[in-house]
Symmetry: C2
Subunit: 114 residues, 2 copies
């Protein structure tokens, strides 16, 4: 038999889609990650680290910013587990800590270059 007509409002398409979306918290984190990639200084640092592990001095030269600016950005990259640090004497050596990073960058390059 036909269902009794209840008073549930017809969900709008927007509302339906909203239900199926990933939780806000996750979307927020994803945006945060992209935000980290979305700065030229950090982009350069990451690109330089593609070549090899490097100390802060070399990174500073490679990206052409002040040592302080580079250190500040490295702190952010560290916080997001995008780089690894290894202390060796007076120097800190940084390297890429995540495999996703290379893939994400490669795709972004593709998009940019077309």
């Amino acid at each position: 038999m036909a269902a009794v007509k209840t008073d549930d409002k017809p969900k709008s398409k927007g509302a339906e889609v909203a239900e199926r979306m990933p939780k806000d918290e996750i979307l927020y984190d994803v945006a945060e990650l992209f935000k980290v990639f979305g700065d030229t200084t950090r982009t350069k640092i990451i690109c330089a680290l593609f070549e090899s592990e490097m100390c802060v001095q070399d990174l500073t030269e490679a990206v052409g910013m002040t040592q302080s600016a580079v250190s500040h950005q490295l702190r952010i990259l560290r916080h997001f587990n995008l780089v690894l640090v290894r202390r060796r004497g007076k120097s800190s050596f940084y390297s890429l800590g995540d495999n996703h990073v290379k893939k994400i960058f490669a795709l972004a390059m593709e998009h940019t270059l077309e």
Copy 2:
């Protein structure tokens, strides 16, 4: 015989790496692209469009922002060729315009969720 000692400075590692990096212009564009992804409102819009083409009204509901805010962000997404628009009567229907986008998002999700 030993080469005559010339006055070319021994290139530092930083300088060498800098030479092999992609041109500044490209790195700048890549960072710009990531910057576009690095905002929660835009992230939500893109996520919503994964489901299907949608008009602005529905998007507005789906992401829970004002219509104006959504329109402003859509303008940016349009500018970067990340979405396509199709005008149908009074409404504008948006859809994802690029295949890289899904892949990039998938990888970012992976990283975020681990």
